[in-house]
Symmetry: C2
Subunit: 204 residues, 2 copies
């Protein structure tokens, strides 16, 4: 990914927070049948990420063990008009751009059909995502009948992404004057994108 220095994110806890807040990754692999991509929720786990796919999803057969893959996490985006820069009225030297935050995780992928691993993965994902969504009132696997959970587990394949390299980019108008940044953030807020506006103000 092309990342000019002022848009590069190096802070590991910040990158981890961004992934945790936007966990739906696009996993891409180059296969014999061309580029294959699927959106899969991922959760940090040890030296990588865990997740699962449907048994009916051919990706677990198309991607050989230890294949290189790229997982891209995206934290929203928005078009930036030059009209939104107060400085533009003076100089007229501005062009449109786009703001966004992304994390690219390069790694290797492996799948597991083992019941214990599938159960562990689903349990961890459920615990974390339910806590984020519903706090202490979150759904638990134990809320469903055991035979139902067993049938659901039979229909999935667990996966583990081992991380080789992480690149993160936060394109948030850091190359503009503070008044321009404030003005664009206000536009995002007005237009219904408070998350991007907040990120611009925090500069993360």
């Amino acid at each position: 990914m092309y990342t000019p220095k002022h848009f590069s994110l190096h802070d590991d806890p910040q990158i981890a927070s961004l992934i945790a807040a936007y966990p739906l990754a696009l996993i891409v692999a180059a296969t014999g049948q061309g580029l294959l991509a699927n959106h899969i929720p991922l959760l940090a786990d040890g030296d990588g990420f865990i997740g699962h796919v449907a048994l009916a999803n051919p990706m677990h057969e198309a991607i050989a063990a230890d294949s290189p893959v790229l997982a891209v996490f995206s934290a929203g985006d928005g078009y930036v008009s030059p009209n939104w820069y107060p400085s533009k009225a003076q100089t007229h030297r501005a062009v449109p751009t786009w703001n966004y935050r992304v994390v690219h995780v390069h790694g290797t992928l492996n799948f597991s059909h083992e019941d214990a691993e599938k159960r562990r993965v689903v349990s961890r994902l459920t615990t974390v995502f339910e806590r984020q969504a519903n706090g202490a009132e979150g759904w638990r696997m134990g809320d469903a009948p055991a035979d139902f959970i067993a049938s659901q587990l039979a229909g999935i394949v667990a996966l583990r992404l081992r991380v080789i390299r992480v690149e993160a980019k936060a394109k948030l108008s850091q190359n503009r004057a503070p008044a321009d940044v404030d003005s664009v953030a206000r536009e995002f807020e007005t237009r219904g994108d408070p998350a991007l506006a907040q990120a611009m103000r925090r500069r993360d």
Copy 2:
């Protein structure tokens, strides 16, 4: 991309609208240095899409002419808790999932350094994106000094993506009862994601 029948989108105008509303594509290519991905705004143009990248972005050198690439357009996403299904209280036979809409465009990519093509591409993108953002008050290339636009054009490379195959997926709880769909849409609205809620109600 794995797409169960009930989540598959086949309506071309609907797919075109989705791309037009979420034009920031992730363009992925398999290169000699591994998988390479960059977020680039794209605009439909003839038999494909046009866009541009910074001259400093190595992707226009790393991706050979006519290389196969995948462009992924994403229209937001959200976690779906089983607790949000009214039917869950009766049966307890539900598990978490994720709703999202994506379009995968498989095609071939070419870059152009020609000034006329770069000017045409920037002009078209600017016209369309500015109209979406600011209506009749939109910024125009002519608002900026000619020497400034010339210097900006010198710093970019135009691209054209010729389309080979399009796959689109709208995962919007279409496999759930209407009461479950309504309830999940309400949750998305309450949690600040009206676009996904509206898409669920329209079932697009």
